[in-house]
């Protein structure tokens, strides 16, 4: 069922009723596991991720679970970021168990570790400490890598790890996968599984609302002329995701300030200067 030819061109609505530049429903929560150093739950549409951060602590990343995680060093002489991804057997429509050495997962771990290491200011901790990010995919419906990045980012904020900005990611695709109709091709934002299977798409991770691209993954063939539009769309989506993550963090912080768990902050105003 090619969705681009049959329905999209008629109403400019996608299979789930979104327009081309609409994100799916997002939910997020920080501190879902009080015993962990940092944790987050993130939902982008039906893709549901739980992220747990352990550390930074001085445990050798290669010793603890070498097969399950991949590490990258943040900020030159800084701390190491180790990422492990687990996909629950019930995450997809057909139940299947994935091994630890699934090559696709390993590649995602490498991408994630490198991307997170670029956002984390690891030099605050020194080279001996490691930040373990453990990601659990509870439900999978497209934009998996993007959701993993966003969940990990939220969990790192919860853990109080210093970062340059939120690391946010989003996918973008392009309608009409055939080569001829270039002018008819529309970029699409935040793809679900069905769209991912039919259309060329890329995942783009940026540092906050800036246009600094930290990671870009594109596994499908796409015409070069369409790439720019897709990247711009994805970067816009990243801004939307950053907005959303920021709101989650602020809400949590405000609740904590209200409850007196943390002291009220001060405000920098020009009046203080004399």
């Amino acid at each position: 069922m090619p969705l681009d030819t049959s329905t999209y061109n008629l109403a400019l609505l996608r299979v789930d009723g979104r327009r081309w530049n609409e994100l799916r429903d997002q939910r997020g929560q920080m501190g879902v596991q009080p015993s962990a150093d940092g944790s987050a739950y993130l939902q982008m549409g039906n893709t549901k991720i739980q992220a747990i951060v352990a550390g930074p602590n001085e445990r050798d990343a290669s010793k603890t679970n070498s097969s399950a995680s991949t590490a990258a060093t943040a900020g030159g002489l800084g701390a190491t970021v180790a990422v492990g991804i687990t996909v629950a057997p019930f995450a997809t429509v057909d139940r299947k168990r994935r091994g630890r050495n699934d090559k696709r997962l390993q590649e995602m771990q490498t991408t994630l570790a490198a991307a997170l290491a670029a956002a984390v200011q690891g030099q605050a901790y020194g080279p001996r400490s490691t930040i373990h990010v453990s990601l659990h995919v509870l439900s999978q419906d497209g934009s998996l890598l993007a959701a993993l990045v966003n969940a990990a980012s939220l969990a790192l904020v919860d853990a109080g790890v210093p970062m340059t900005d939120y690391l946010v990611a989003c996918t973008a695709g392009s309608t009409s996968s055939y080569a001829a109709a270039d002018e008819a091709a529309d970029p699409l934002l935040d793809l679900n599984t069905q769209e991912e299977q039919e259309l060329p798409f890329l995942t783009l991770a940026t540092l906050g609302a800036s246009d600094k691209v930290v990671a870009m993954v594109c596994e499908s063939r796409v015409q070069l002329a369409r790439l720019e539009g897709m990247m711009a769309t994805a970067a816009d989506g990243c801004k939307g995701v950053r907005d959303f993550l920021d709101r989650v963090v602020r809400e949590k912080g405000e609740i904590m300030v209200q409850e007196g768990a943390v002291g009220r902050g001060e405000v920098v105003s020009s009046m203080d200067l004399d």
Binding site: R27, G126, D236, A261
Partner: protein, 354 residues
Amino acid sequence: MPITILQPSLAPPPKPRNDDASDSDSEGGADLEGDIAMGRPAKRARTQDSSIMTPGEIITDDPQWMRGHGTYVIPGAQSNTILSSVAGTLAKTNKLLSVRPLRARYTPEIGDLVVGRIVEVQAKRWRVDVGGTLLAQLPLSAINLPGGIQRRRTETDELQIRTFFSEGELLVAEVQQLYNDGAAVLHTRSLKYGKLRNGVFMSVAGVGGGGGVVRARRQAFTLDISGTDEVSGSEKIDVVLGVNGYIWISKHIEGEGAAAESSGPGITRIEESVGLNVYSSQNDIIPVDTMREIARVRGVITALVENGLRVDEEMVIKGYQEAVEMAKEEPDSADTLWLGGERGKRLTNALVGR
């Protein structure tokens, strides 16, 4: 049957979602308004009176301020823009701006009282887990020898290093020194510090996280449990609130423990008081009543943490008294020790009077 066409009417206003308060669901779908109307929320002036800083948010671009912890400047940029690198609240110390994270691992400071666990024994030192980003170290020269003898540490001491502390053992110590990377060096050269026994260990979040241990004048104190009807005689419990969020609750032994403080002898009489059994790992016989009260104190602290209250001497003592009162109210109930859920809420509500 004719088909009736109803007049189009306005959609009902969206109902407010009654999700969990902490569950963020505002505007759910993060709709990108129209085409590309996404602004830069962080870079805009903060309109709401929220004092929360989030990563990447500009704190100030006034060159008068200096940047402290939790902030950064863009390297290479000519501007003096200070940005936040963690989510937290802003703190000003004269001209120094820093952001205190909402939640973070423990960062040691000189003079902190910490509870730690030995994870590694090396030739001349121990490596201690104090819940920080790096392991702390405890040099062999920074402990009291049994019997309080003052002398250089010899090879013999190095060979029997495991007779003092071995892997997995708990101790209370003070941060003596910090390295550049933030690693701490501990010492136990006081009667207040040393190996822990006769009690129970618990860990609460290091900094923030909705409560936790706060730095206070006194981190170790003695609780009188003779107030409870069930306890015969005058029994006491020692509570050590490590600044790192590690807590030790134990049976009080006269003249020992971290709460002994000034009542103990001075440095001149240290030989007489540092007994030969300070490095014993053997528990004394603990009466069942004392065990129960230790468990009650532990329950109080868990309730404080679960309900986002700070853990300090005042709160623990008041909470304990409240818990004893609660237990008296329901004498027939068997599990008055359990202070989770509804009971914990009741306890903490009584404490803060809400």
